[in-house]
């Protein structure tokens, strides 16, 4: 299967969803070609609402639509959804627990050339801090499509984090099943655990291979749902391997790493080492160059695993 961006999968899933559910409506803030909501617009123009460049209003208009029985999917770049729209999402979507799906694209550093102003590396942190919010970060196109189906069935606010760049396919096995709140064990090993989300799941698998060559066998877990997080799979991993390395295309403050550390410290304290953007802004560059420069590669994960093992 070809590499595709999770936003591409989102556009396709949305167009299909439109057919199945007549109460699905889609809102965008002048970015429908980039967020891929244009795929939905093409088939259901009457249920596509362009809100122009006004993200705060868009979030609450979606809340109003949801209060009248619609299932609004709201899209823009993650920076402007979670960042600009934070307070609207908190007070007008999550507080009244309205059935709005915020599907934010262009998350993380791999936005690339647009630079720091457009690279949301705080969105997971912001969104998971709000009560009632479900936060999902799919690792490939297949998972993104399944996540969209799942959030459409779930009643309540959801944030789905999608990326700009094409990512390798990792979930193309016959028994793949997506369940909100369930972590997925991708590789098993006893020496350490790597817990990754989004595009970093692929890097974690690469790190697994690199470590295996040196005789180190690690557990690899994909956490696609950051909230509610699968506490059981994390606690089991801590107990069985004694050290955890987290990997995310997000700040090390408040994201997956923090969420995992919260679970571990309260249940089974072991070292948790975080791979992520280290409290700094990104910059313009090619996605691969940025991942390299900001320490988000398989090599960085391998290094962290070895350091973690020395702390056991």
């Amino acid at each position: 299967m070809a590499k595709i961006a999770t936003r591409e999968a989102y556009g396709k899933a949305l167009a299909k969803l439109g057919e199945e559910k007549s109460n699905v409506v889609v809102l965008d803030a002048d970015l429908s070609k980039s967020t891929k909501t244009a795929d939905f617009k093409k088939v259901f123009p009457e249920r596509f609402i362009n809100m122009g460049i006004a993200e705060g209003n868009m979030m609450v208009v979606a809340a109003g639509l949801a209060a009248c029985g619609k299932i609004p999917f709201v899209s823009t770049f993650a920076m402007f959804a979670a960042g600009r729209g934070f307070e609207q999402i908190r007070n007008s979507i999550c507080y009244p627990k309205l059935n709005v799906k915020v599907c934010a694209t262009h998350a993380g550093l791999t936005v690339g050339e647009d630079g720091a102003s457009h690279q949301a590396i705080e969105d997971i942190s912001l969104m998971r801090s709000i009560p009632n919010m479900v936060v999902i970060s799919p690792s490939d196109g297949i998972e993104a499509e399944e996540a969209i189906k799942a959030v459409a069935e779930y009643h309540g606010p959801c944030y789905v984090r999608l990326g700009r760049s094409a990512v390798p396919v990792i979930n193309d096995n016959a028994d793949y099943k997506f369940q909100i709140g369930k972590g997925v064990t991708l590789r098993e090993g006893k020496d350490a655990t790597i817990i990754a989300t989004g595009i970093m799941v692929d890097a974690a698998l690469e790190a697994y291979n690199m470590l295996a060559e040196e005789g180190i066998k690690v557990n690899v877990i994909n956490i696609h749902t950051i909230k509610p997080i699968d506490e059981q799979i994390i606690v089991n991993a801590a107990r069985e391997t004694g050290v955890i390395v987290t990997a995310e295309e997000h700040s090390v403050i408040g994201g997956l790493g923090s969420a995992v550390a919260e679970v571990v410290t309260e249940n089974y304290p072991v070292p948790v080492l975080k791979i992520g953007v280290k409290d700094t802004f990104g910059e313009s560059g090619k996605p691969a160059e940025l991942l390299e420069k900001y320490g988000l590669t398989a090599k960085d994960i391998v290094k962290a695993v070895k350091k973690g093992m020395s702390l056991k």
Partner: protein, 274 residues
């Protein structure tokens, strides 16, 4: 249109007394802006809106969004007096465990169509409701009530632009133009004037009225219903603290509760049946 306003005036008196009593009991709340909105809410709920306290979730009902969420005591009294919940509940305003939160919560209070409190957002929710009505070809109408200080929020104008863009003639927004906000006169804090010209420029039908005159309010609602392809803004000139002489036109009464003595004096002034 000739309107018999006697009954509405009696309701308004009761609501004003509820507001003063509730805020005194909770020793917390916003009397000024609650008192200035009374006639607008009374006209909507006791004359105009298609709502049924027995069926608060009726999908065909008219909707109301209190964008100036701090005016909650006025809305709570209206809903209780209309029969959405027991009047005795009004004693619990802002108290721990109460359904009557400081700002309206749609999941706690029967009859509240949208949770509000953070200024600028309610009108956006009303736009969403009006859009849903258009999509579903429903006949219901959507009403929003904004404060004049609230017009400082940029989101109000984002919402206004979108309401006109989508020709939401099923949406009517009232502005409680009492001229005062927390820090003083709106004109001095952040001048919103000319409010009518702003809404006109954003593509709205605009009507300016005396916000304490039932006949004018009801006629404005009728005009809005007969206006096609445009949302209507009703700029209501009001008096903050209306009905209680020592509160009238005093910014200091925006968010402070009266003492028991002040409450008694206020109730006496408002008068009418208990």
């Amino acid at each position: 249109m000739e309107v018999n306003t006697k009954e509405l005036q009696a309701v308004a008196k009761t609501v004003r007394k509820d507001i003063v009593t509730m805020i005194t009991q909770s020793a917390s709340g916003h009397p000024g802006g609650s008192l200035s909105e009374v006639e607008i809410l009374t006209a909507l709920y006791f004359k105009e809106m298609n709502v049924n306290p027995q069926k608060p979730q009726d999908p065909d009902r008219d909707r109301f969004v209190l964008s100036k969420g701090h005016g909650a005591p006025g809305l709570y009294s209206i809903l209780a007096r209309k029969g959405f919940f027991d009047v005795s509940e009004l004693n619990n305003l802002r108290k721990l465990g109460s359904i009557l939160q400081g700002h309206p919560n749609m999941n706690y209070v029967p009859g509240i169509d949208m949770s509000t409190g953070s200024l600028g957002q309610g009108i956006s929710a009303a736009v969403g409701m009006a859009l849903a009505g258009k999509l579903d070809k429903k006949a219901y109408r959507v009403y929003a009530l904004l404060g004049d200080g609230e017009l400082g929020e940029g989101e109000v104008w984002e919402a206004s632009m979108s309401a006109a863009h989508y020709k939401l003639d099923n949406l009517t927004a009232f502005v409680d133009f009492n001229g005062l906000q927390i820090d003083g006169k709106c004109e001095e804090v952040m001048n919103p004037n000319p409010i009518d010209e702003k809404f006109k420029a954003f593509g709205w039908n605009v009507i300016t009225i005396d916000g304490h005159d039932f006949e004018q309010i009801i006629n404005a609602i009728e005009e809005a219903k007969n206006t096609k392809d445009k949302p209507t803004a009703v700029i209501c000139k009001t008096v903050k603290g209306k009905g209680v002489s020592f509160m009238e036109n005093q910014a200091g009464w925006h968010g402070s509760a009266p003492s028991k003595e002040q409450c008694e004096e206020a109730l006496k002034e408002i008068g009418g049946e208990n």
